[in-house]
């Protein structure tokens, strides 16, 4: 049975009244982005670089709105300094990270940041959750969202390659 793990994510985002969806897209997020675009009270915010999204969502929170940041593991590397904004001010920051360089990766250039992602996020003081099986998505998202918005805290949900399928570009 195919688990609609994207649906599970959207359900949690809606329950937690997430309004701004900031992202640099990844293939693993494309269905989520497409479905968020169909939701009237969610606003897609495409970014030029992932760290922009941390600042956007900080501004959103000052204005009373919740958001989520979607990115690929490579984008985590772009975020490191800006993450201190969320940490020092204790802005709630929910990050959904589709993993590369982790399991069956075909592109060696993805491996350094893929391997660094959980370590660097933890070192920077973020809560790190991992989903490696589609059936776990809903409860992990709920757990992460609760800690993020009721903390507040900064949390990342790492969506493993075993969930999204290792990209192959036909190779």
């Amino acid at each position: 049975m195919q688990v609609d793990w994207t649906g599970a994510i959207i359900s949690v985002l809606r329950d937690w009244r997430v309004r701004q969806v900031a992202y640099v897209p990844d293939a693993g997020h494309s269905e989520l982005i497409r479905r968020c675009d169909e939701v009237d009270d969610m606003r897609l915010v495409p970014l030029t670089t992932e760290e922009e999204g941390i600042a956007v969502l900080a501004g959103a929170w000052l204005g009373g709105q919740r958001g989520v940041l979607l990115m690929q593991s490579s984008g985590v590397g772009n975020c490191i300094n800006m993450l201190s904004l969320a940490r020092v001010c204790r802005f709630p920051l929910l990050m959904l990270v589709t993993m590369r360089g982790q399991w069956g990766e075909f592109n060696p250039w993805q491996v350094p940041m893929g391997q660094l992602t959980p370590k660097v996020l933890e070192a920077a003081g973020n809560l790190v959750f991992s989903v490696d099986e589609p059936g776990q998505m809903g409860q992990t998202m709920e757990a992460a969202a609760r800690m993020t918005f009721e903390g507040p805290a900064q949390a990342a949900v790492l969506i493993g390659q075993s969930v999204i399928g290792a990209k192959s570009f036909g190779k």
Binding site: Q20, L47, T48, L57, W61, G63, G64, Q65, L85, C89
Partner: protein, 203 residues
């Protein structure tokens, strides 16, 4: 140095940063202000340590993006980002991210002294031929202009306060090191909570 940057011209610019910022913040009405790190923070705080200013002590490159998030969350309030040229350059892509959104309540003002003011007054790229307002227009801003004289500044003030956004101004100001004077709180939680409390009436 073999670059195209002019190390002398900004020392003679007529507009002075403290007066420019004071004029923008006089009669601020219900404007929400984000100040980029460094001198823009000192300039804003010299006017007042206002709870609806969010003064950045870090997050270089994030001021305009932060203004965007705030403006999208509060479409009925004017959001003014006051920042420096170095800080704006570090987040230049944010101009295109702003241009990709439909919103009319965001104004970005760069106090451009063509210097990195906190680290020894090194030249930024605006000390050459770089035209930031042209980049803002190319990114999709509704309006953008460069200001270098007192007449131009006075004429632009009403627009800075109320013209349909997203709007961008680069104000060429004299490159000078001023005494800091008043500082806002450094504690980010305090800054966040008092801003939200003043704006939303809630914790």
């Amino acid at each position: 140095m073999n670059g195209t940057l002019d190390r002398n011209r900004a020392a003679d610019y007529p507009l002075r940063r403290r007066e420019v910022v004071a004029a923008m913040l006089a009669e601020r009405g219900d404007m929400l202000v984000v100040a980029g790190l460094g001198a823009p923070v000192w300039d804003c705080t010299a006017v007042a340590d206002h709870p609806l200013n969010f003064p950045l002590w870090g997050a270089m490159g994030g001021a305009a993006a932060m203004g965007l998030g705030l403006a999208m969350a509060q479409p009925d309030r004017r959001v003014l980002v006051i920042t420096g040229d170095g800080e704006m350059l570090m987040g230049l892509g944010a101009l295109t991210t702003i241009g990709a959104q439909k919103l009319d309540n965001l104004a970005i003002v760069v106090c451009d002294n063509e210097r990195y003011g906190e680290t020894g007054m090194q030249l930024t790229h605006t000390a050459g031929g770089l035209d930031l307002p042209a980049m803002a227009l190319a990114a999709g801003f509704a309006s953008a202009a460069s200001i270098s004289s007192d007449n131009e500044f006075k004429a632009a003030l009403p627009a800075i306060r109320s013209a349909q956004g997203p709007a961008f101004w680069s104000i060429k100001i004299r490159a000078e090191t001023l005494a800091i004077g008043a500082m806002p709180p450094k504690d980010g939680v305090t800054l966040k909570d008092r801003f939200r409390s003043a704006l939303l009436g809630a914790a």
